[in-house]
Amino acid sequence: MRRRLAAALRPAAAIGGALAAMAIALALLGASPLAVAADLADGAFGNWIAFTDTLARATPLVFCGLAVAVAFHGALWNIGADGQLVAGALAAGALGPALGGAPHALAIAAIIGAGGLAGALWGGLAGWLRARRNVNEVISTIMLNFIAAQLLSWAVHGPLMEPSGAFPASRKIAAAARLHLYFAPTRLNLAMLFAVALAAVCELGLFRTAAGFELRALGRNRRASAFFGMPIARLTVGAMALSGMLAGFGGAVQVAAITHRLYETISPGWGYEAIAVALVARLSPLGVVPAALLFGALDSGSQAMQRADGVSAQLVYVVQALAIIVMLAFDASAGGGWRELLGGGASDAPDAAAEARDA
């Protein structure tokens, strides 16, 4: 129990360490670290609007963080959550305007389902390339990110452009397909609840099912998985499709709840930030939720900080990056986990060890 508590505290310690480093840097630059911290916290949690904004900012990070965590458990380095999210948003934005006649529940199911399906195709494509053609998924998912971004750009300048043709944006989705903002004027909606439910499903799926077990075994020892006859190709494609689906859901709910239409810049890079989120969460699906909240809070607080202290909002990216580096460098977590996974050499190292033993 104490060990579990210590494990949960480690990411917090890393963030704390990164914040401490930033505090020193701020002090050297002449700003008051305490004032900056207070404004940051105030911007993120200071009032009801700020708090709900933090939740809304965290929501796509939960979806993408889950996508990354699931894939990384299988040692599938999905860097393409951003493209998969864009694919999901594109499908949702394309389908949304046509859902006018449908009942609300059906329209919501259709728009989110379409987003998930598009994301699954986008991620599954990278999985198929890996399984059948041995294309490194790091490369293929990054390339697919570019393609998705350009597809979106083409769509909002071309076939999906709003009727006036004045703005590079799509038509608004039908009212029936919009996720309600129950607490207007805040942006609070049901998407966060959906994301938390998905996190629980991922946690169960990874740690309680045979398929999740096979994926984790594959990620930790590919050779043993082959020796025990696991369907490696099927697992690879399935995990990447599932990962893409989670990110695609994120894109769809963003369109359904927040933007209601497509823009070129629908994602500010959530898919990449999600890698940091998943790492801070130590690849635990349930841990992704608080990690995403933290990153969302930094995002929304940074605006207030910039206004109040004249410190660039970009500073929070430095904090986030420092937190990751601190964790990677100092968290020699007991019994493996993502540190070994990220090391990448873990699957090859036993060869050398075995050779040394046999010598």
């Binding site: 309680r208 099912t209 045979a210 398929a211 077990f213 096979e214 984790r216 075994a217 930790r220 020892n221 050779r223 043993a224 998985s225 082959a226 020796f227 025990f228 006859g229 696991m230 019994g335 493996g336 986990g337 070994e340 036993p350 060869d351 060890a353 075995a354 033993r357 046999d358 010598a359």
Partner: protein, 491 residues
């Protein structure tokens, strides 16, 4: 003269070398022979400075060499070693490789033409051919790579040339040329130490032979005065005290539980499995003897379904629940060290099907089953089923692998080197478990380099040499005869 005085070296709890005295004189080819794990590679590693000895000395012409000396110091002492697997950069040309290896001291490493010219000079003197100019190492055969390594070693004009199993990958025709070249080096007054487990080769080429077994020098003898049978006995150890157990008689009419037909696997242009056909019937323990590296690991991979065959067929189909495989490298191929013990059991498909019948694990039941298995097989795990597999000792990991294979209730068990590294009691326990499995109608293919083990446990014996498997006659059923067959002697 090269000599070692009372060298000892321990790896963990294994005493790899036990007060080893070894002498090699100038102008002779000295063969160091022994089975896998006898300590040969450790000894040459210490002589070559790659490993440090726990105690004892290495002397060259009466001068002690410091332990753990750097490559530079070794060159000064003029000891050059060629190791089992060539250490070359695949994606570079052979000239670049030689230049990087400190070839041709004095020449600029960039002057590749000079390197090539000098290499051809050395190669011509040794009777070698070199690859065409600017050829990539990746495209060259294993034999050519070994020759490159030797040319590099010779470029230091070494007093001592150590060759660690350089011939295990050479084809017979290449081998002949290579061994003749060794003779020329000897005649030039060099000390050549040839490490090998091939008895015939040692007898053919060496002047003196040192036999090692279990970390000790068993004997040193002149090649001309020793017979193959006697050396084989010395290599393999005392004959088993008890007479070999009478081979069990399985029902010859019963259909085989495992049948391989014409199984062929090609890797890097070499047929590592060469039209292997064999059967194992229910109730039978078939032994597969052979020197390590003759295709046994690939055979196990093929039966497990971890590789795709180039030809042939295996019944039952690989990857199914009927066959349980216990791989040789249990950590690399058989366990997920970060996962708890009970999850490691679930790697076996039949157990996964049993404890996750509808895709969801009954974790409590799986843990209880694991705890029971730990007790039944006397696996010592401090934290029980939740303990990570990596926290177990080697012997306990091995027992876990065996327990898992048996628990899946397969029809066939393929066990590769399962008693390596186990103490006598644990090994006996593992063998008894296999015998009981066979007595209950299971079929076992036991792959081992340990002849005593095979003679004790198995009915029919097969021998694997260079990717081929052949049956042995009942008359072959003794260690000397089998040792010769393993070394590639004609039937």
């Amino acid at each position: 003269m090269l000599e070692t005085r009372s060298i000892s070296r321990r790896f963990g709890r294994t005493l790899a070398l036990d007060r080893v005295d070894f002498h090699a004189r100038p102008g002779e080819i000295h063969a160091l022979i022994g089975e896998n794990g006898a300590g040969k590679s450790t000894l040459v590693g210490i002589i070559a400075g790659r490993l440090a000895a726990d105690s004892g000395q290495v002397l060259l012409d009466g001068v002690a060499l410091r332990a753990g000396v750097s490559a530079v110091a070794l060159r000064r002492a003029r000891i050059a070693a060629v190791y089992q697997s060539p250490m070359l950069f695949e994606r570079m040309t052979w000239e670049e490789n030689l230049a990087l290896g400190g070839f041709a001291a004095g020449a600029s490493p960039r002057a590749l033409d000079a390197v090539a010219a000098r290499a051809r000079q050395i190669a011509a003197a040794a009777g070698f051919e070199l690859p065409p100019p600017r050829a990539l190492v990746a495209d060259r055969s294993v034999a050519e790579r070994v020759r490159l390594e030797i040319v590099r070693a010779l470029s230091f004009a070494p007093r001592v040339l150590i060759l660690d199993e350089p011939t295990s990958l050479l084809a017979p025709a290449e081998l002949k040329i290579f061994l003749a070249a060794l003779g020329r080096l000897r005649d030039a007054g060099r000390i050549v130490v040839l490490v090998t487990h091939k008895l015939a080769e040692a007898l053919a080429v060496a002047d003196r032979i040192t036999v090692m077994r279990c970390g000790r020098v068993v004997t040193e003898t002149r090649a001309a005065e020793s017979g193959a049978a006697e050396l084989a006995r010395l290599m393999i150890g005392a004959l088993p005290d008890a007479p070999a157990r009478a081979p069990r008689d399985p029902d010859p009419a019963a259909p085989p539980a495992l049948a391989l037909t014409g199984v062929t696997l090609v890797r890097e242009g070499r047929r590592v499995l060469d039209e292997i056909s064999l059967t194992v019937r229910p109730g039978e323990i078939v032994g597969l003897a052979g020197v390590d590296g003759n295709g046994q690991a690939e055979l196990v991979e093929a039966i497990a379904g971890a590789v795709k065959l180039d030809a042939g067929s295996i019944v039952p189909a690989p990857g199914g629940p009927a066959v349980a495989v216990i791989p040789q490298h249990r950590d690399r191929d058989g366990l997920v060290l970060e996962m708890p013990l009970w999850e490691n059991l679930m790697l076996a498909a039949p157990l996964r099907a049993r404890f996750a019948p509808h895709g969801f694990f009954g974790r409590a039941a799986a843990r209880r089953f694991c705890a029971e298995l730990l007790g039944r097989f006397a696996i010592r795990a401090a934290a029980g089923p939740a303990c990570a597999a990596g926290a177990l000792s080697g012997g306990n990991r091995q027992r876990l692998s065996v327990a898992r294979a048996l628990a899946g209730a397969p029809r066939v068990i393929v066990a590769h080197d399962i008693c390596r590294g186990l103490d006598l009691g644990a090994a006996a326990q593992v063998r008894r478990a296999l015998a009981e499995f066979a007595a209950a109608g299971g079929a076992v293919l036991l792959i081992s380099t340990d002849l005593d083990e095979l003679l004790e446990c198995c009915g029919r014996l097969l021998v694997m040499v260079r990717g081929r498997v052949r049956e042995t006659a009942p008359a072959d059923r003794d260690p000397e005869r089998l040792g010769l067959l393993m070394a590639g002697a004609a039937a």
